[in-house]
């Protein structure tokens, strides 16, 4: 059997929502014409970054099969995710693709002991025999720096946020998935704990060969851990490429703005200039032309009327007219 080249492939992926407010209603593109590929056999951490409301969570939900795309194609190992039957999803897809959610406490029922999910996953996918479940789970937990003794019989609220998130990752690892979709996995955690989770992703990629889609608004951890990054703005992927390039030397004014806005724990790098804020998020979605035009320091006239296409430039794709004339 020939292995498909792409582990995950998005082509012109679009998700349209209706938003109603009072007596009026608008359609908006939460994800608009997204294109990217993750290659089989080459594990990487692919970061999707952007502000809240940039469409990154919608994208994650589509990859996990929780939302259906409105337009375009999204395939996993060559199969369109939207067409998977319920049974196919349970017997195959879910063992291949696993999620890690933002809030580890919300990801587990507060009324259930947390190990319940671990044993369920083992049992449902028949990973090992029942008698070996304890041992197997212990092994997985050790990979995330925990042991079964710390976890067994405990309710989620008896664990710290970091521990709970590790359990969530351990649960995702049980089926030995090829792809983990982690949606803001560290944003609820203290800064000091974030590194341990992010480090774990790096380890999992290298040692277990898992591809991880790391969705975050924290560019620092993305820079630290990811191989590639896609920066999203109001449904658009505005800049995508290797993380060293995109974040080391951001080209899109929005990426630049994002990077500048990160407060650094370094007294030598405090901000000197002020920034512009969007007043109404929803307005930017429906704006004509470039969606960043309203607060772009380098805005040009055509930005306000035309949607910029994606330009290949300096090893990345940039969706900005500034790079129109540059050679790919």
């Amino acid at each position: 059997m020939q292995q498909p080249k792409d582990l995950l492939s998005a082509e012109h992926l679009t998700k349209i929502f209706d938003i109603r407010q009072g007596f009026s209603s608008k359609a908006f593109h939460a994800v608009d014409d997204a294109n990217f590929q993750l290659v089989t056999g080459k594990p990487e951490i692919f970061s999707i970054a952007g502000e809240s409301g940039s469409g990154k969570s919608t994208l994650a939900k589509m990859i996990l099969g929780m939302e259906l795309p409105s337009l375009g194609q999204l395939t996993y190992k060559g199969k369109p995710i939207a067409n998977l039957s319920k049974k196919e999803k349970r017997s195959w897809f879910y063992s291949e693709v696993q999620p890690v959610f933002q809030d580890p406490f919300a990801a587990f029922s507060p009324l259930k002991r947390i190990d319940h999910y671990l044993f369920e996953t083992v049992a449902n996918y028949k990973v090992v025999r029942r008698s070996e479940a304890d041992k197997y789970i212990n092994g997985v937990l050790e990979e995330v720096g925990l042991s079964i003794a710390e976890v067994k019989g405990r309710y989620p609220n008896e664990l710290s946020g970091g521990q709970a998130q590790r359990v969530a990752i351990a649960r995702a690892l049980i089926t030995k998935p090829s792809l983990i979709v982690a949606d803001e996995p560290v944003s609820m955690l203290d800064a000091s704990l974030r590194m341990s989770i992010v480090n774990m992703f790096r380890k999992l990629k290298e040692e277990n060969g898992v591809t991880i889609i790391y969705i975050t608004h924290d560019l620092a951890t993305a820079y630290y851990s990811a191989d590639r990054i896609a920066v999203m703005l109001r449904g658009w992927i505005v800049e995508m490429g290797p993380v060293e390039k995109v974040l080391g030397n951001p080209m899109h004014p929005y990426t630049q703005n994002l990077k500048d806005s990160i407060p650094q724990a370094d007294p030598d790098k405090v901000w000197d200039k002020t920034t512009n804020l969007a007043e109404m998020e929803a307005d930017e979605y429906t704006r004509k032309g470039c969606r960043f035009a309203g607060r772009c320091p380098a805005v040009m006239d055509k930005c306000k009327t035309q949607e910029p296409p994606s330009f290949q430039h300096d090893g990345r794709a940039v969706k900005c007219f500034l790079y129109e004339d540059a050679v790919a």
């Binding site: 209706d18 938003i19 109603r20 407010q21 009072g22 007596f23 009026s24 209603s25």
Partner: protein
């Protein structure tokens, strides 16, 4: 107008379906009853009168004809719809040929007056008391009030009404026994004050139960709302308690309860049944009860129809007006 298509129209279609189902049910159920209105009328007419057998048969024939009960169920159903569309609910069987609309018309004012007033009073009182109790959960009066209302709440409504009746008309003969007013209707002090006097006990009994219910709900809502961030923030800013109570707590707990109020006003048409039976109040409930007992189909259907129409319309209006009442609501 996408909203019209995706929200308002479906809601109106649903409204029409509800009314159709309701009307059909009200048509069918009395007809499934073993009580035949003609026999009933005949029973009434011949109860005291010695009538010759031949005359009885003749009378029966003419009554069937008069009441429009000839023809099969389907034919009756169609002619029924024809009448409904023309707002003609037919004649009453017991007081033939008085039109049902006239009977309902002369009863409904009483019920609407009594019920709407007592529902609104109970709603306001319950809301205020419940909110206060939720705001001062540890005060002795809040606890006393809660405990006593929890005991009052489960008492079947009939009993509250009956005990009040005995207390205030028999042991302490303060209130009148029966009726809705005194003397001739008119805008005179004596007539208007008699309305209050005659309506006082029925209203009181309705209010007691209503307050208990509203109190329990308001208190629960307030307790939740009280620990919310914006109340905490206002308290931290040392805003006066009454300000927090009225502009913050009540304003916020109000919204779900306005829906309730709308729906319970819609329930007016049935809510009166027991009150009116106990107090001999001349409203729609008394009318319905006697109609059920005498199998007066047309009256039963008329009232049920009105009631379905009332509740359905009330809930439609509440739904449609929600975005106007609550600035936060979004439909999705």
């Amino acid at each position: 107008m996408k909203l019209l298509r995706t929200f308002i129209l479906p809601r109106i279609v649903q409204y029409l379906i509800v009314i159709f189902v309701g009307i059909t049910l009200t048509f069918l159920i009395p007809r499934l009853s073993p009580i035949n209105p003609v026999d009933n009328a005949l029973g009434r007419l011949t109860a005291f009168q010695t009538m010759s057998p031949e005359a009885t048969v003749a009378l029966r024939e003419s009554l069937m004809d008069l009441y429009g009960l000839n023809g099969n169920l389907l034919q009756q159903y169609f002619s029924f719809w024809k009448r409904v569309v023309a707002f003609d609910l037919g004649p009453s069987f017991t007081v033939f040929p008085t039109p049902v609309t006239k009977l309902i018309g002369s009863s409904i004012g009483w019920t609407i007056g009594l019920l709407s007033l007592s529902i609104v009073i109970a709603w306001i009182l319950g809301l205020i008391l419940g909110t206060l109790a939720g705001f001062f959960p540890n005060s002795w009066w809040a606890r006393t009030m809660e405990n006593s209302l929890i005991v009052v709440y489960p008492i079947p409504y009939y009993i509250v009404a009956f005990v009040l009746l005995m207390l205030l008309t028999y042991y302490l003969p303060i209130f009148p026994l029966v009726g809705g007013s005194k003397g001739a209707p008119g805008f005179t002090w004596s007539y208007l004050s008699s309305l209050v006097y005659y309506g006082f006990l029925p209203a009181l009994s309705l209010i007691i139960g209503g307050v208990a219910f509203r109190f329990i709900i308001s208190k629960a809502l307030t307790s939740t709302e009280r620990s919310s961030d914006y109340v905490r923030f206002a308290e931290m800013a040392a805003l006066p308690k009454h300000k927090i109570l009225f502009s913050y707590l009540i304003r916020n707990t109000l919204l779900p309860q306005v829906t309730d109020l709308g729906l319970s006003l819609g329930l007016i048409f049935e809510g009166a049944l027991i009150t009116e039976a106990v107090y001999g109040y001349p409203g729609i409930g008394s009318l319905l009860l006697s109609a059920i007992n005498s199998a007066d189909y047309n009256v039963i259907m008329g009232i049920t129809l009105l009631s379905i129409f009332g509740i359905a319309t009330a809930s439609l209006l509440v739904d449609l007006s929600y975005p106007l009442i609550d600035p936060r609501v979004r439909y999705s």
